[in-house]
């Protein structure tokens, strides 16, 4: 019991040194010190620590901190929000939008759907050609290998410039190397555009939506911290 009481008064010694104890506590500590040499040595140790700590060089922040602060609080929109760089939010939103767009584009593949069928299975592969409408300069889009016993094929051309019309033809390659061309078919941009725009819009909403939610979440956690402080 006595040991516990000794320890409790010794735990007050740093605050005896910094003079923040109440009069009652001060009396108890002084009574303890008067009968305990070790406590007196500890007080001296605390005084040396106090001297060392208080003699550390003081630095002052740059005056720009005050200027920046005053500029921020004078902004009409200055509210609880932590100062975030808008360019960072824009960049993060754009990056998320692009990622979502790529994923959705690969999943939905909004584009021109070409379908063709055969009477007999005798081709080894099919080449799909595309040209802008009004041009005869066909370019190879892709080559699809033929599958045994399969008579119906389809291909989605999703890499299209919005608003542009295209023409297509399919070249069937026979086993002997001879090829046969299909007739030319037209595609109209207005058939594809709504789907593409819907995907772009959805991606923008999801991308920037995530950024907004994250900012709101940060704001909410800051608000909780401030409420905790008050």
């Amino acid at each position: 019991m006595i040991r516990k009481s000794q320890q409790s008064f010794r735990k007050l010694l740093p605050w005896y040194v910094n003079r923040s104890l109440s009069a009652l506590e001060c009396e108890a500590v002084e009574a303890g010190i008067s009968r305990d040499d070790r406590a007196r040595a500890e007080v001296d140790a605390w005084k040396q620590i106090q001297t060392a700590v208080t003699s550390q060089p003081q630095r002052m922040p740059s005056s720009q901190v005050r200027q920046r602060l005053m500029a921020i609080i004078r902004e009409p929109t200055a509210s609880f929000t932590r100062v975030t760089r808008p360019s960072w939010s824009l960049f993060a939103g754009a990056l998320l939008t692009l990622s979502v767009l790529i994923l959705l584009w690969l999943a939905v593949r909004p584009g021109v759907v070409l379908q063709w069928s055969l009477e007999r299975d005798r081709m080894t592969s099919y080449r799909i050609y595309r040209a802008s409408q009004g041009s005869s300069q066909f370019e190879l889009v892709t080559e699809i290998p033929a599958q045994a016993n399969r008579l119906r094929y389809s291909f989605v051309d999703a890499l299209l410039m919005p608003g542009r019309n295209y023409i297509y033809r399919v070249e069937g390659i026979h086993a002997d190397g001879v090829s046969t061309f299909s007739q030319i078919v037209n595609s109209h941009s207005q058939d594809v555009l709504p789907g593409q725009l819907a995907l772009i819009l959805t991606s923008v909403i999801i991308g920037y939506g995530i950024v907004i939610v994250m900012r709101q979440w940060t704001l909410l956690s800051q608000r909780k911290v401030m409420e905790h402080f008050t």
Partner: protein, 198 residues
Amino acid sequence: MNHNAAFYDIKIVEMDKSISSASDIYLLRRVASGDELAFGELYQRYHGSIYNYVLRLIHEPKEAEDLLQEIFLAVWRGAHRFREQAQVKTWMYRIAHYQAISWLRKHRPVTPFDDMTVINLEVPEQVTFETWQSDEVRKAINHLSPKHRAVLELAFVHGMAYGEIAQVVGCPVGTVKSRMSYALRVINGKLKAADFVS
């Protein structure tokens, strides 16, 4: 016209005088209502001590300036939520402590000290305290973890009572006292190990 201008000048001087002698709580109430002048006075009173407190915990002058800005922005934005259950100074230091510790958590490895260690390390009865040099003590203090340094700083540089320190660092009074005792043991141990003490 000239008379009016002179009268106006005198009025401004009087207003500044009243601000500079106002209590912290009065200033904070005015800050809560959007008074920039009161905010400027609070900044003037505390920016140096809070900056040095944060700087001694994180040891990065530029980052400490950024944190100082964040701390005073938090004061500006949170002034209307202050419920006057603590001193304004304690409240501001608590925000500063929180910001500094959050920064350290993000930028520094986890400190090996924890409160369990403190509880298990009792002061041996035979420990002796010698005469130390301030420089040597300061070196030894640098071996303390930020949370132990924080308690020392708040007690000796900022003259806080243990109850106030507990409010600032957000832990029980017993933990504050234990951290102080632990800090003394570490400093004493470091000084002896480094042969600083004769």
